[in-house]
Amino acid sequence: MIVADRKKVPEIRDMVKKHDRVLLVGCGTCVTVCLAGGERETGILGSALRMALKLIGRGEVVVDECTIERQCEDAFIDILASRVAEYDAICSLGCGAGVQALAERFPNTPVYPGLNTQFIGILESQGVWTEKCAGCGACRLGEFAGICPLTRCAKRLLNGPCGGSREGICEVREDLDCAWQLIYDRAKALGILDSFETEAPTQDWSTSLDGGPRKVIREDQCIAGVCSKTPAKSLG
């Protein structure tokens, strides 16, 4: 899931303080699970923001809250359409995709981010989320015993550990397990250490973040005519 955390209240306050009516929009999907932008967090931010605005003499700003099931899909954003006209600005507690989906849907209303979107990750333990995937577009987890060195090695090494691995701990961060130690241990346990005997190809970075946003297109699912907008860099 996408993991995010809330911006500090003063930063959000300064973004919205010039407006008179602000709608905080939470998202019921990933950011609810990572406790950053769900219904409860939206309520908490609403209360904090109203107080923060009042403390700088802008207590008259109306801050209302609502949470939709998913901010990154137009079908769910539609629920908001009738309400948005009542507001001067939107502050989204969705991930970056949610913020941009709202901005596209409501071209005449400024949309501000209430969260800092961090990474694709998993819940490690209660209240702790860890990055697991860099979304590189060319997954090679099968070669690395299911552990991604691109994401979990501090140096993003794809060809084995560096000289700084000490008893399974990374030299860059003491709180970080050496990804290559984890890969080695798991490969050994799985009996596939010999897979490292074969030469691994270099990473195909053409599928990663450059040359504009990536797209995934499923021609069989497209409505006739829509796929004709296929960009130069289409995947799949």
Binding site: R13, S47, A48, A52
Partner: protein
């Protein structure tokens, strides 16, 4: 009178609320500016309850739960403590003194302790002065009555 601090005490039904009652029975005097709200457990407290109290203009908030290890619902008071800490952090972020909010633990037999806590917080809030979000007394008192109604519905087991 108008400037006198107003403190809300979210009290657990099983300990602090009974302790407040006991303080009364024992005729122990404590500051009259505290408004006691009874909850089924301090675990019922959410961060937004606490922030809402400050937003409605109260000067200080007490959360009073059972002694650690003695929660009727096992760990409600431990959860409450962490929520209080989060609310304190948010208050600090927006520029309100976090010490206006504090959690205390006591048993139902500690009427004198309840009076002591209220006196301590009352003095602390008086020293800090009125909340920068303070509204007129009548408005605050009305808001507290609303919060109390909400808390009573919680005690009765109604959904929020």
């Amino acid at each position: 009178m108008e400037d006198e601090p107003i403190i809300v005490a979210f009290c657990c039904h099983y300990c602090a609320y009974a302790a407040a009652d006991l303080a009364g029975t024992l005729r122990i005097a404590y500051p009259a500016n505290v408004r006691v709200l009874r909850l089924p457990c301090t675990g019922k407290i959410e961060v937004d309850y606490l922030l809402a109290a400050f937003e409605r203009g109260v000067d200080g908030v007490i959360v009073a739960g059972c002694l650690e290890g003695g929660c009727h619902f096992q760990e409600g008071n431990l959860r409450a403590r962490r929520r209080v800490e989060r609310a304190q952090q948010i208050l600090g972020e927006i520029g309100i003194e976090p010490e206006r909010l504090e959690m205390f633990n006591l048993s139902s037999a500690e009427g004198a302790r309840f009076a002591e806590i209220v006196t301590l917080m009352s003095k602390r809030i008086a020293k800090l002065g009125p909340s920068p979000l303070r509204l007129c007394r009548e408005h605050v008192e009305r808001s507290i009555r609303d919060m109390n109604d909400e808390a009573q519905r919680a005690v009765a087991g109604e959904k929020r």
